[in-house]
Every structure is written in structure tokens, then in C-alpha cells.
Amino acid sequence: MAQVEPTSIAPPSSWAAYEPTPASPWNSRRVLHLHRRAGFGVGWADLTRDIAAGPAATLKRLLDGPYYRDRIAPDFESISSSIADAAVVSGDPRRLAAWWLFRMLHGPDPLGERLSLMWHNHFATSVRKVADLAAMRQQNDVFRTMGRGRFSLLLDRTVRGPAMMVWLDAAQNQKGAANENLARELMELFVLGVGNYTEADIKQAARALTGWSVAGGKFVIQPETHDDGAKTVFGQTGPWNGDDVLRIVLSQPSAAQRLAWRLCKTFMGENVVDPAAMKELGDGLAARDLDIDWAVRTILTSQLFFSDANLNSLVASPTTFVISAMAALWTAPQPPSSVVLAEWTTRIGQELYAPPNVGGWPEGRSWLNTRTIIARANFAADLVEGKLAQSPHPPDLAGLAKAAGHGSDLAESAMFFNDFLAGGRLAPGTINAILTAAAGANLTDSQKLARVAALILSRPEAQLC
């Protein structure tokens, strides 16, 4: 099998390009891994195509996009825009969340949406305070359109967005009455990370950021409230303004390391990336003007990304879990209701546009607790019963297993769904117990199969991606 195409700039040694080997083959497990980390899962037909195409072509398709170029209607963007417009007019944040899920499920660029979700958590902003759906949508569009470019540009557009201005009380930050929220989060969360700045830096940066405000739903600069005196930020003294603060903060060495941390937290599993590899990635970013695209390509094409240690080592977020399960199993004639899916991601613990605080969702194991585990199982049950559409219609799971060549009996189908949904990690005893549970009821074959799929989807192993 061919080696992955080299990226334009040779990656650091810890991030050597993936090359299939007998110990690390290009198989369904790795293709699923790629799609669940870099996107939101994949259907069986695309999975088999990618296995056949090999890693180079698949990664090229995913990275260069659009991945779903074959199935996207020409008017997709127009329809998507209409749906977003209607969501904003409705005043219901759930409708705007549904629009985003619609894009994750049906859009052309799963990696773009995945990165948008990452930035939503990085620049965590809640509609509960912003209370302006147009502003939340604008921020979301910034994530989508700029989420793979230069971090400096993404940061600039995000911070200047009306949503962030309201969220971090920028308008209250005025000469003689500083509000440090924006300056603090800029350093602590967005660019540098804890321990890489002083309280004095925050106070001085807050002064420089005075005058940045929002009015009429738009970013404005109000010279009257700007403190134009000299400030010293990270040792640099001058009559700095907001632009200067962004420039100075971005020039700190820890900026690249913070960005590398965020990307690894998103794409790599727990304890997979050692400090040296993280530093290498950060150094690479620093050398490339914080080029997000370079880092994303470096990570997703790496041997480390496809290493055994990285497979099934991350708890899937509620959004990833829901959309991946839909991509895998939903064969019903009517598409699922994205509003209903938005309800489910909320019940499972991720209400889009409403992260719990400025730090975003903690992610990882914190996604799982008694309530959310039960909610995941209930979602799985509704999915296999087809209750997620306006007109309930169960997906054809038997047909799916049969198309995959595993539909001869319930046990064989169970093995298929184990591979497809849980990375093949369920022990034989567990599968037997599931088969017993499904067979014990007075159900039709398709109902039994639905129950098997739901039980597998509810297993701890299926929560990992």
C-alpha cells in the first residue's frame, strides 16, 4: 500500500507520516478512527470506499475536501443558509444548534465542522449571555471559514466578533473602569495558557483593549473610552491598543504550545502525545506563523495518529457520538430531525452554543456520568426504532449488515455491529450476553437486530473514538 503523500513541509520526527504495516494496517478500524476523530463518523459505503482507496487518497479527500463531494446537492449552501436564517428569526437557540448538526450530518466538509466544534470549545461562548443568535451564527461562520487558516486571523475575527464582545464584557472595559475579562481569557484560555503571563500583563492588556465595544450587533471602536496612555505588556511598552495586544500576545512562545495542546486534545487520545511530541508540534507551528492547517495535516497523517495507542482512546463527545451513530446506522428514507438531534446532544451533555463556562466543556471522561450514560442508551434505542424523524421509520439494519456481508444470522450481524460501532472491542462474552438479551424477548428478527445494535451502541466500548 502506498505511503501517505508527504505534506508540503516535512513533519517533525515525532509526527512521521503514517505508513501501513502488518502491525498497523489500513483497515476498517483505522478508517473509522480517522472519521470519528477528524469528522463525525462515516457510513458503510464510504468506509468501504476509503479502505479500498488507501490512506493517501482518503486523507487527501478528507483534508483537501470536500470529502462528500459526490453526494452534496448543488444548492446545499443556499439551503443551509436559509435554514440558519430561519433559525435566527425563530429566536430559538435549539434551531441554530439543529442547523449546525444538519451541516455536520449532511455537509460537504466534516473536518471543517469538526474544527468548528473544536473552536467553539476553545473560544467557548454561550448564547445564554450573548442572547443574540445572529451574533452566535456569525461566530460559528468564522470558525468554519477561518478555522484552518492562520491562528492570528482566526483569533482576531473571533475576538472582534459581537458574540465575544458581549460574552467577555468588552464594552464594560473602559478607560478608568477596566474590566479584565477579555484580557484574562485572551491569555489564559485563547492564546497562552495558565502560567504564561502575569497579573500585571492582564491589567495592562485590559487597558489597551479599552474602546473595543459592540453596538447595534457589530464590533465598534469607541475612541472616547480608550485609554491611550502607555502600557507595558510582556515587557513591551507603548500606547498600545487592542490590535497591539493581540500581536504581542501571539508573539509569546507559549502561544504555539497552547495551540498544539488544543489540537492534540481534539485529535489525539489520552496520554498518547508525550511532551516532546507536543513541543515538536508547537515548535513547528511557531516556525510557520501558527498555521493551523499545517498542524492539522501533520497530526492526521501521522503514524502517531494511527498508532494502536491512539485508537479508541478518547471519549466521544455527545455531538460526535450522536452524529457518528447517525452516519453509521440511519438508513431510514426520511432524514432525521436535526432539532430532535439537538435535543439529544443536550440531554447527553452538550448543548451547542451553551458551553458551561469560559473554559468550555471539560471533555474526555467528564462526558460520562450516570445521567449521560443513560441518555446515550436512550438515544441508541430511539435511533434503532427510527424515532428521530418526523415520520418514525426504523433504519434497515439487516440490510446494512447484509450489504456488509455479515447478515446471515443475528450472531454474525452482532459481530459486524461490534466492529462498526465499537471498534471490535466487545468481548465474546459481552456479545453473547447482548444476543441473549435480544433473543429473550418476543421480538421479530429486525427488532432483535435493532436491540442488538442499540445495546452495542450503549456499551462503554462504543463511547470511545
Binding site: 439551503i79 425563530s90 464594560q172 430532535v340
Partner: protein, 584 residues
């Protein structure tokens, strides 16, 4: 004849919008000319998952003059208060009115015969979607969405669709159930069940949408197209049955499955009576309302008077079914009352009469009315008012009202050149305290009624399209003479800039300019347009002394600068900078 207000607040909001938009329309709202050519409406309906909605029924509810292009929304001065389609509807003879179209498999439909440059109100109903109403312009313009403020502090997003458009329908669901007599458990047939206003996440200014059903012999009903959102309320309205209107909030249950809700109805006591004209003895068309005393022991136990919504309980008279609370052609009425004490109000729908407040002795004004369930009785806005004490046994004494027409004054409005002027918005026509929303006068001559010789009455008159206005205190001599010509002068344009300091912000700031008419009773509120850069301006009526108020939701502000000014007709006033800082 206009029906009595189902929801006074909504009507006020819409009138407020009308005031604001007529400034922008550039012409007084008048009867539209007959269309001479036609731009078809070509729409496509998709659901919130991008799927075409087949078999949706699209119906023309009203047709209005568009009177301006969508691009005009961005005109200076249009600000954010404009809702251009709330102008005078063309009457029932408008071409195309009432026609329906059904969407095909691709979700598309086409309508013709509606003319050009019209704003067409369409209702849309269909399988799996929320029933909705939209406004489409028969113009080749792009679809445009604006946030408008129909009333201070309220926000509504309004979309104006161009003649070729795509409409995304929200998800809808059905609700069904039964209506029963709470005492006997027997089903109640012939009860009207309807969707009431919804209280959305950002706005509670949603116009009631006509989703209705009548219960069958088993008391069953079904409503389709219910919106899937929080704050939905449905109501059971008994027709000619002595039960109270019952409103219940509908929980936003997850998913799209149909919902169920049953109504347990409680029986009240019929109260009857008649409303007549004191001078002629003829029947009067009036809107009646019964407001139980807040300490009415029976009302306190009835769920019908305590609607729980979003965790808050409102002690209020149900507003559903208010359209039924009208006198009949012979002036008689029959209402369902709660045993015990209530206030019974009667308000003329047909013409001006002296208000209940005006009929009270001067020393008691404002009238010391008993505290009732909401809405509070307002003697300035009703023509008859009585306290009733209804016995439990169902034998309430009839309550009759004689409305006093008082004296009439014929008004003629002219402009600066003494030419007749139409399209004037007038308040003070009904009552010294304004008496409800301003009325739009289509002709230059109209009457002020319900007057007395010794009455202190102020008329506030505006013609926004021409930027003219006047405040007139009616004098005894005028009233005695029965005729008065009023000249409207150019409005005064006041402007300035607001600067936020010491931690205050401009976010969400709204301003009003308020004056008090010379009679001392009527307040004049002018909307002030505030731009993103803090500059503001408003048009005020010459001669009045105004005070500028600056508001920000949930925050106190301290304002320094020139907030008081006297408007001078035809002048531009620069009020300079207003500095706002956080206050208590």
C-alpha cells in the same frame, strides 16, 4: 368593524409599529390602487432539515401596499423600529385575496393575480411543519430579515420575502385530547380549542395564529401545526356554554411525537345585560369583560385564573375567546361570571362615548377601582364600569349600561398651506388620558366624541409621512361651536450623541422622548432612533416640553447632559452629548 382586542398589549405593539413605519413608508397609508400588472409569487417550502414540504397549503390572508422597497430599510432614520408590512390592509376586494396554493413534491408553489408592489400575508400549513404566517413582497427584491421593536423593550425578527423565495418551516406537531366538565366528567362538544400566543425564547410579542378546532360529540379535538418550542399555550373556549375559558401551557416534550392535553372545565354563572346609547336608546356594540376581585374566593380556587407559565403563575383572566365577549345586535350580552365580586366593564367598539372615568366626579379621578385579576380595569379606557356580586345559585341580576355619547366636535386637519391633510395619527379622541392606541385617520375630517363642555381634553396629532404634528388643547368655545380646524406644523428634529463612560455600554440602549400634554393627563412618547455610534435623533411635536429617557435592559444608568428640551416646530435642535454611566 374591528373586533375587540384579544390582547390589548399586542394591538398596542402593532399600532406602535404602524406609527414608526409610516415615517419610513414615505406616504400615508391609503387604499391601494387596483393592480395593473402582476408579479407572481414563486415560493419553495422546505423543512428545517432542508427537505421539500409537499402538500403544504399556502393561503393569502391579506394584501397590503408594499409602499417601499426592502432596500429602504437601510435609509437613514429608518433605525431598527421599522416593520413596513404593518400598514393598512387593502380591503376584502383586493385581487387574489383568499386564494390558496398547494406545494408540489419539490415544495414549490406559485400564485398570480396579486399585483405588483404589494405585501402579501400568507399562512402556511402542512404535514410535520409549524403553521406559520409570512410576508411576501410582489417585488423583485431579495429576502431581508430585520429585528424590529414593536414596543419598548420588545424585539421581533421579521423577514420580508421577495417574490421568489425559499421558506424554511419550523418543525410542527399535533396535539389532541378531550374537553370535559370537571364536575361530571362528561364531554363537552362545540368547544373551540385554539393555539394562543406563544412565548418564545426572545419575544412574547407573537401574534395569535389561527390554529383552531371545535370539539366533537365526544369532546375531542386535534390541532395540527403546533410549534415545537417552549411557551406554547392552548385554550378551550366554550361557545354558548356557561364554562370558563381555560388556557393551559404545553410542555415542550422532546421529540416530534404528537402531544395530548385534556381540559377540565369549570362552570360559572351567566351574567346578562344590555348596552344602549343614552341619547337614542339604540343598542351599542360593546366589548364586555368580567374581572374578579383579587380576593374573590371562588376565583382563587379556579385554575382558569392562574396560568402557570415557565415556572411563573399569573393571576389573570384568560385572554382567549375575547372575541366572543361582544354585545349582540340588540345590545344584549351574556357572560360567564365567577360567583362573588367582580368588576364588569363595557367598552364601545362602534363609536365614541364618554369614558367611565369622565363620568365619575372630578374629585375621585383617577377612579379608585378595586384590585382585580389582570388586566386591571382602567376607567379611562372603558365606557361603562360596574361592580357585580354574583350569587352561587346562578340568579345574577341583569347589568345594564347606558353609554353617554356626550358632545361631538368636527375636526378638519390642514397642512402648513391650509390644504386638507389625511393619514393623521390621532390620540385623545376617546379620552382625556389617551384612551388606548392612536387612531389612523384616513380622511382630513373626523369627529372627536364623548366630550363635555367642561372637559380638559388634549389631541395629539401626527402625520409622519409629511413630518407634521400638533398638540391641541380643546377649549370650551371649540366644543360649544362643534367645529375646529387644526393646522399641523413641521415636526422638530432633535438629535445628539450618547457616550457611554465609566463602564457603561451602548449595548441594547433604547431611548424615548416623553412629553406630557397640557391637560396633564396624556403622555406623549416619541421613539428615538439610536445608531451604533451612539448618535440619536427623533421627531417631536412643536410646543411640547420633552424629557429624554435612556434605558438599558436590566441596568440602571445615570445620564448627564441636556435631557430636557422644548420642541420648536420646524426647527432642528442639537442636544449635544449625553454622557451615561452606571447608576442605581
Amino acid at each position: 368593524m374591528a373586533a375587540a382586542s384579544r390582547n390589548f398589549a399586542i394591538i398596542v405593539a402593532f399600532v406602535a409599529v404602524s406609527i414608526a413605519i409610516s415615517d419610513w413608508l414615505g406616504a400615508a397609508a391609503t387604499t391601494a390602487p387596483v393592480a395593473i400588472d402582476d408579479i407572481p409569487i414563486e415560493g419553495r417550502i422546505i423543512d428545517s432539515d432542508g427537505q421539500p414540504v409537499e402538500s403544504a397549503i399556502v393561503t393569502v390572508q391579506s394584501v397590503r401596499e408594499a409602499a417601499a422597497t426592502v432596500g429602504g430599510i437601510d435609509q437613514p432614520g429608518a433605525a431598527d423600529n421599522m416593520l413596513p408590512i404593518i400598514a393598512s390592509p387593502i380591503d376584502g376586494k383586493a385581487p387574489g385575496l383568499g386564494q390558496s396554493a398547494t406545494t408540489g413534491p419539490d415544495g414549490r408553489f406559485r400564485m398570480t393575480g396579486l399585483g405588483r408592489d404589494r405585501a402579501v400575508e400568507l399562512t402556511i400549513r402542512g404535514p410535520g411543519i409549524e403553521s406559520d404566517r409570512i410576508f411576501v413582497l410582489t417585488q423583485h427584491v431579495p429576502t431581508e430579515t430585520r429585528t424590529v421593536s414593536p414596543a419598548p423593550g420588545a424585539a421581533m425578527a421579521v423577514t420580508l420575502f421577495g417574490s421568489k423565495f425559499e421558506f424554511v418551516a419550523g418543525p410542527g406537531r399535533a396535539i389532541s385530547g378531550a374537553v370535559r366538565d370537571a364536575a361530571t366528567g362528561k364531554p363537552l362538544a362545540g368547544v373551540r380549542v385554539e393555539l394562543m400566543q406563544t412565548f418564545g425564547p426572545q419575544s412574547d410579542s407573537v401574534v395569535p395564529f389561527p390554529i383552531q378546532a371545535i370539539t366533537d360529540l365526544q369532546g375531542r379535538y386535534r390541532l395540527d401545526g403546533l410549534p415545537k418550542r417552549r411557551g406554547v399555550v392552548i385554550a378551550a373556549v366554550p361557545i354558548d356554554q356557561p364554562f370558563f375559558v381555560h388556557e393551559i401551557p404545553i410542555e415542550d416534550v422532546a421529540g416530534l411525537a404528537d402531544l395530548a392535553a385534556d381540559f377540565e372545565m369549570h362552570r360559572g354563572v351567566w351574567v346578562t345585560g344590555r348596552v344602549t346609547d343614552k341619547s337614542t336608546g339604540l343598542p351599542v356594540m360593546a366589548h364586555m369583560q368580567i374581572l374578579p376581585f383579587s380576593d374573590n374566593a371562588v376565583a382563587r380556587k379556579l385554575p382558569e385564573f392562574h396560568l402557570d407559565l415557565n415556572g411563573m403563575s399569573a393571576a389573570a383572566v384568560p385572554s382567549a375567546g375575547d372575541d366572543l365577549n361582544l354585545t349582540k345586535a340588540d345590545g344584549t350580552f351574556r357572560l360567564v361570571a365567577v360567583p362573588g365580586k367582580s368588576v364588569l366593564t363595557a367598552t364601545s367598539v362602534a363609536g365614541p362615548y364618554r369614558t367611565a372615568a369622565a363620568l365619575l366626579p372630578p374629585t375621585t379621578q383617577p377612579a379608585p377601582l378595586p384590585v382585580t385579576y389582570q388586566p386591571a380595569a382602567n376607567a379611562d379606557q372603558v365606557n361603562g364600569l360596574a361592580t357585580i356580586d354574583v350569587p352561587d345559585d346562578g340568579a345574577a341580576a341583569p347589568a345594564n349600561f347606558e353609554f353617554d355619547p356626550g358632545l361631538r366636535l368636527k375636526i378638519s386637519i390642514v397642512d402648513e398651506d391650509n390644504q386638507p391633510l389625511t393619514g393623521v395619527l390621532a390620540s385623545g379622541l376617546q379620552s382625556a388620558r389617551g384612551g388606548g392606541p392612536p387612531q389612523l385617520e384616513a380622511t382630513a375630517n373626523f369627529d372627536v366624541g364623548g366630550l363635555a363642555l367642561d372637559e380638559s381634553r388634549t389631541l395629539v396629532l401626527r402625520q409622519d409621512a409629511r413630518s407634521l404634528g400638533a398638540i391641541v388643547n380643546l377649549r370650551r368655545g371649540d366644543i360649544k361651536k362643534g367645529r375646529l380646524t387644526i393646522r399641523l406644523d413641521p415636526l422638530c428634529e432633535a438629535s445628539g450623541r450618547i457616550i457611554a463612560t465609566k463602564g457603561a455600554t451602548l449595548a441594547g440602549i433604547t431611548m424615548t422622548a416623553q412629553a406630557t400634554a397640557d391637560s396633564g393627563a396624556q403622555q406623549i412618547n416619541e421613539p428615538v432612533a439610536v445608531n451604533a455610534d451612539g448618535t440619536f435623533h427623533c421627531k417631536c411635536i412643536g410646543g411640547a416640553e420633552y424629557v429624554l429617557y435612556v434605558n438599558q435592559p436590566g441596568k440602571g444608568l445615570k445620564v448627564a447632559g441636556r435631557v430636557r428640551f422644548t420642541a420648536v416646530a420646524g426647527r432642528s435642535l442639537d442636544l449635544g452629548d449625553l454622557h451615561v454611566e452606571p447608576g442605581k
